[in-house]
């Protein structure tokens, strides 16, 4: 049902986007501005919301040997004990999906044996997707800003390394479609994943898939006037918007899907992007016994512990009988 709902939702969004070419002002300027504002503000609000809750305890997930005595080889990056090791751990997590790389697959063999195998497909396609997405966004700086930053040409030449086709086929364009297809099919075909999937899992995949496909169509098949598009984008991104005379329907669709993604981002699971930086099990050093961690609301615990005095009062007699040392000898 979640799948059906998200497909319907996606097509409604896509239809609106396609029809957007009728109104260059609303779909070319107003909605993109709105989406940008919601995206930026939404993320900041979300971060502030998280930040307003303290981290009362330092509860890291340690995935390697701790730091104890110097002769025991410790695992610095799976069990960091200081700030820079933690930063490396976070970088490994954010840039290379360290934890997902560990993924295994458990299955029952011969009705009795549990066996575990390496399972790297999710890692592979997840990392393909995320890196492709990032590179594609960065490549789009050629439309966003004037002058185009230098890194764009570098990215383009790396991304188009194989120099196949005209315009050159970008590796990331192929990779993102392949990766999205895998991530989507996995949700539909793998029974376990299907069982846990919600409409909010399918929808962003469809949305990003739509964005990727419309982008690819514009690049290779139905060419649009890129000079006009850059003028529009630079206009918006310099607070000097120029309302275009006309929008190509495909571009209108592309832009609208991007706008919807931006709006959807801060109110969905996609906040895992800023969220990963906040994950307390990963972004804290495992130096619990070395440095005291402060809980700002520690004093809110009202219950009093059972003191030794209370204890001795209750058990003085029996303690005396067996000659256990006492604080107070009376009675």
């Amino acid at each position: 049902m979640g799948l059906f709902f998200s497909i319907v939702a996606f097509f409604i969004v896509a239809l609106i986007g396609y029809l957007g070419y009728f109104s260059p002002m609303i779909f070319g300027v107003v909605i993109p501005y709105l989406a940008l504002a919601i995206f930026l503000l939404g993320i900041v609000v979300r971060i502030i919301k998280w930040a307003k809750s303290p981290v009362p305890f330092r509860i890291t997930t340690t995935a390697g040997q701790q730091k104890t005595m110097p002769w025991i080889r410790r695992n610095r990056f799976d069990n960091p004990s200081n700030a820079w090791e933690t930063i490396v751990r976070m970088l490994l997590e954010i840039l290379f999906f360290r934890s997902l790389f560990r993924n295994t697959k458990a299955s029952i063999k011969d009705g009795k044996k549990l066996v575990y195998g390496s399972e790297k497909w999710l890692w592979l396609f997840a990392i393909l997707f995320h890196w492709s997405f990032l590179i594609i966004v960065l490549r789009h700086f050629r439309f966003f800003s004037q002058p185009t930053p230098n890194f764009v040409s570098l990215l383009q030449s790396i991304d188009g390394f194989f120099q196949v086709g005209v315009p050159i086929i970008y590796i990331t364009n192929v990779a993102i479609v392949v990766a999205l297809t895998y991530l989507f099919l996995r949700r539909v075909i793998n029974q376990k994943i299907k069982y846990i999937s919600l409409s909010s899992d399918y929808f962003p995949l469809l949305l990003i898939f739509g964005i990727a496909i419309t982008g690819i169509l514009m690049r290779y098949f139905f060419k649009v006037d890129l000079v006009q598009i850059k003028e529009l984008a630079v206009g918006i991104l310099s607070f000097n918007p120029v309302i275009p005379e006309a929008l190509h329907p495909l571009f209108s669709l592309h832009l609208f899907l991007v706008s919807v993604l931006l709006i959807y981002f801060p109110m969905s699971k996609l906040v895992h992007m800023p969220g990963i930086f906040f994950s307390p099990t990963r972004n804290l050093a495992n130096d619990n016994r070395e440095k005291r961690h402060i809980n700002p609301w520690n004093n809110e615990f009202k219950m009093h512990y059972h003191t030794y005095e209370e204890y001795e009062d209750e058990f003085r007699e029996v303690m005396k009988n067996v000659n256990l040392p006492l604080e107070k000898e009376e009675k």
């Binding site: 995206f39 930026l40 993320i43 900041v44 971060i47 502030i48 930040a51 307003k52 303290p54 981290v55 009362p56 330092r58 700086f141 050629r142 439309f143 966003f144 800003s145 004037q146 002058p147 185009t148 930053p149 764009v152 040409s153 383009q156 030449s157 120099q163 086709g165 005209v166 315009p167 060419k223 649009v224 006037d225 890129l226 000079v227 850059k230 003028e231 630079v234 206009g235 991104l237 310099s238 607070f239 000097n240 800023p274 930086f277 961690h293 402060i294 809980n295 700002p296």
Partner: protein
């Protein structure tokens, strides 16, 4: 433990990164720079309509390239007949046809290509006409 300084730093970095095009545009001072194509003065007709050429010239050149290099067909044929262009058989050639009229690469090709950061590698091999020759 709120780690407020780190969070604030994070928010600032996030905002700076995600609004970086804005700053480039505002402080780069080049938003008014737009492509300024100089069309050949002594020719008013292209092999195909301008609107088509504007968006699809790369497809056309790619198609020509295959025909010339791989199919050994130097001149454009249509229904078995040579196509006439400006009184001659139309040769499918970047240097012999296109650049004969559009003989100033930097005032023509580079205008949009630079604006949009398109870096075709045609000119790595093909030799652009010396500018100002004509």
């Amino acid at each position: 433990m709120y780690d407020a300084p780190k969070v604030i730093l994070g928010i600032i970095v996030f905002l700076l990164l995600f609004t970086s095009p804005l700053w480039i545009n505002i402080f780069g001072g080049q938003t008014s720079v737009k492509p300024n194509i100089q069309l050949p003065k002594d020719a008013n007709e292209c092999v195909y309509p301008t609107e088509y050429m504007k968006n699809y010239h790369m497809d056309l050149l790619n198609d020509w390239r295959d025909k010339v290099v791989r199919d050994n067909q130097r001149f454009l044929l249509k229904n078995g007949n040579f196509v006439d262009f400006r009184g001659k058989k139309m040769e499918m050639s970047l240097s012999h046809t296109c650049m004969k009229c559009h003989n100033n690469k930097s005032q023509f090709c580079d205008q949009c290509h630079n604006y949009l950061s398109v870096n075709p590698y045609c000119w790595d091999c093909h030799v652009a006409p010396k500018e100002g020759m004509k």
